[in-house]
């Protein structure tokens, strides 16, 4: 697409209009978007065309439109986080990620649906209704960033921004047959991201190819003085790594298969596609070793203590005083009464569950046994990663234990929902980068599965190199991209 813009074969206005048309055609059925900014996107597209006509494009992606997850602040465009409590809130500023997209010339098509405050693995916890998986509209698109993944899978957007706190970029990528990258923690600014669990949250690319993800990552990544947890080091050469990987040669690369991330609880078809990917990488010259990370079996419990604890304090900012919803009970209510009524009305079930759980984990008397213990196990997980990365350059596993399940199947069974993040959570606990790329379709249901590639912190280039290589190897097997095999969505307009 960028090449066609370079050649003058098409214009940003044409491309942007085509995507807006596609959104009008299929988003009634998919519901990937909460907000579409037709006017703003076309205005920015026209400005991009003017830059190209003047011979001064702002970068390789100038003019390529993008969708942004609704947890990222966009000046002048509503940002709801999928929650009633922020319905109609229009941020007076841009997140750094958004500012960088604008500076690089990418027109913003709109804001994508998500589980409320990014809590969930199915996008069913959005206060504004679920997003449907383009592969099967009765199924979930993953979560929390199901809107971004579905938009890209349904060709409503060529690129999207997601955020990954426990797998919210990678797991939707796996179940929609798209590519999703969680950068190293601190590699992409969190300024303007509404915090869920601030020590885990990380924004990253959602795309249809590894190279596109690398191009987008280079736009949004790098140090930001507005985020004190942003890493003040140059981002590795990601596009170069993706281009290098595309030859499919993995000679000398040591690939570690994590024995704890597989087996029981994983769907047979997902495991079969994963085994094939490993075999292809072996044939391409990689040295495959099995590595053990024993503390990973505790990763889920660790995450579901630390996350609610951080979330319960982060979400305390929704107090009905300065922005967002305010519900005023009858009589002469105090500010506290207003807070209670507003938070009751404005938050959905999953948000309430996690706030209460987090409040519990931080209560005196239970703090050491739960939150304190979880922080220690977090150290053990990091030690396991360090040991594993002494034996292997990258680690691999299935991204999600199953393919997309039916909408409604797990929505009132929180524990079953949490298990979707089994394989993705360890990376968030330790801040390491990871990518999910499509590994094929599971035999039993014909739905996409993903393979996850993890690298040490600040070695994001490795996930792009190995990801691009595996993508090329799988593409040769399939004779094209996996998404080519997705069913056609033709204005179903449900």
């Amino acid at each position: 697409m960028a090449a066609a813009l370079d050649d003058g074969a098409t214009t940003s206005v044409e491309i942007t209009q085509a995507h807006l048309d596609r959104i009008s055609e299929v988003d009634g059925a998919v519901h990937a978007f909460l907000q579409v900014d037709t006017e703003g996107a076309l205005r920015d597209a026209a400005a991009s065309d003017a830059r190209r006509a003047a011979g001064s494009p702002a970068g390789p992606l100038d003019g390529v439109p993008i969708a942004v997850k609704d947890v990222v602040a966009t000046r002048g465009l509503p940002t709801t986080c999928g929650s009633r409590i922020l319905e109609g809130w229009v941020p007076p500023y841009d997140a750094t990620v958004v500012a960088r997209l604008r500076a690089a010339g990418l027109p913003i098509l709109g804001k994508t649906n998500m589980d409320e405050f990014a809590m969930g693995s199915s996008t069913e916890h959005s206060a504004f209704g679920p997003t449907h998986n383009p592969w099967d509209l009765d199924r979930i698109p993953g979560g929390s960033g199901g809107g971004s993944a579905a938009a890209v899978a349904a060709y409503e957007a060529p690129l999207a921004i997601g955020t990954d706190t426990g797998g919210s970029i990678r797991q939707p990528g796996a179940v929609t047959g798209t590519v999703g990258v969680k950068p190293t923690y601190g590699g992409v600014s969190r300024y303007g991201l509404v915090s869920l669990a601030n020590s885990f949250d990380q924004a990253g690319p959602v795309t249809r190819s590894v190279l596109d993800a690398a191009l987008l990552h280079e736009v949004i990544g790098g140090h930001d003085p507005l985020d004190s947890t942003s890493i003040d080091q140059p981002v590795p050469a990601l596009v170069e790594a993706a281009r290098r990987g595309a030859d499919g040669d993995l000679t000398g690369v040591r690939i570690g298969v994590v024995s704890e991330l597989g087996g029981e609880g994983y769907q047979d078809g997902v495991l079969a596609r994963f085994a094939e990917s490993v075999e292809l990488m072996t044939k391409a010259g990689a040295e495959v070793v099995e590595v053990s990370c024993p503390s990973f079996v505790h990763a889920l419990a660790t995450y579901y203590l630390i996350l609610p604890a951080e979330a319960s304090s982060n979400l305390a900012r929704f107090d009905a005083m300065r922005y967002g919803l305010r519900v005023t009970p009858d009589g002469d209510p105090s500010a506290e009464d207003v807070m209670r009524a507003t938070r009751e009305a404005g938050f959905g079930d999953e948000v309430k569950r996690r706030i209460i759980l987090g409040t519990f984990a931080l209560s005196s008397g239970y703090y050491d046994a739960y939150y304190g213990q979880a922080q220690k196990v977090r150290t053990l997980v990091t030690r396991d990663f360090e040991a594993a990365f002494r034996l292997a350059d990258v680690l691999v596993s299935p991204t999600a234990p199953t393919t997309a399940f039916k909408i409604g199947e797990k929505v009132d069974d929180p524990l079953a929902m949490y298990l979707n993040d089994l394989a993705t959570i360890p990376a968030n606990l330790s801040g390491v980068p990871g990518i999910s790329i499509p590994s094929g379709l599971a035999d039993e249901d014909g739905l996409p599965a993903g393979v996850q590639i993890l690298a040490p912190a600040m070695a994001d280039d490795r996930v792009y190199r190995v990801g691009a290589a595996l993508e090329a190897l799988l593409g040769q097997e399939w004779g094209g991209a996996l998404l080519d095999r997705a069913p056609q969505l033709t204005g179903a307009g449900a």
């Binding site: 419990a301 305390a316 500010a335 209460i356 931080l362 209560s363």
Partner: protein, 118 residues
């Protein structure tokens, strides 16, 4: 909102709190109160058993790491970040108040913060 607070039935010593990883309806009501959420009776009936199931499964974490393991609160080696004290553009009062539920005289208008007895 308070992050830590007294909890009914919480033992003095956190380490002793390991035996019964369940949350009663009353405990959930109290926690919701601490978190400033007015849960309805129906929600308490619905959420309390779910929370007990979740807690039961994450309670397995207890005793996994020994006393010699340092806690991780953050994966990066964080240091204080300083910058020069220079004026930068910020939000105007109008922009800052643009999302406010109620505004009066260029200020956020909030309900009374003191109770009758105060």
């Amino acid at each position: 909102m308070p992050e830590t607070s007294e909890h009914p039935g919480a033992p003095e010593d956190g380490r002793a709190a390991v035996e019964q990883p369940t949350l009663s309806r009353d405990q959930v009501a109290h926690l919701a109160d601490l978190a400033r959420i007015d849960l309805s009776d129906a929600e308490l009936d619905h959420l309390a058993p779910q929370l007990s199931v979740i807690l039961d499964s994450i309670a397995s974490i207890q005793g996994v790491a020994g006393d010699d393991v340092p806690p991780t609160s953050h994966t990066l080696p964080l240091t204080n970040v300083f910058r020069d004290d220079v004026v930068r553009p910020g939000l105007t009062a109008e922009e800052a108040l643009s999302g406010a539920p109620e505004v009066e005289q260029q200020r956020f208008k909030v309900p009374r913060i003191l109770g009758e007895e105060q």
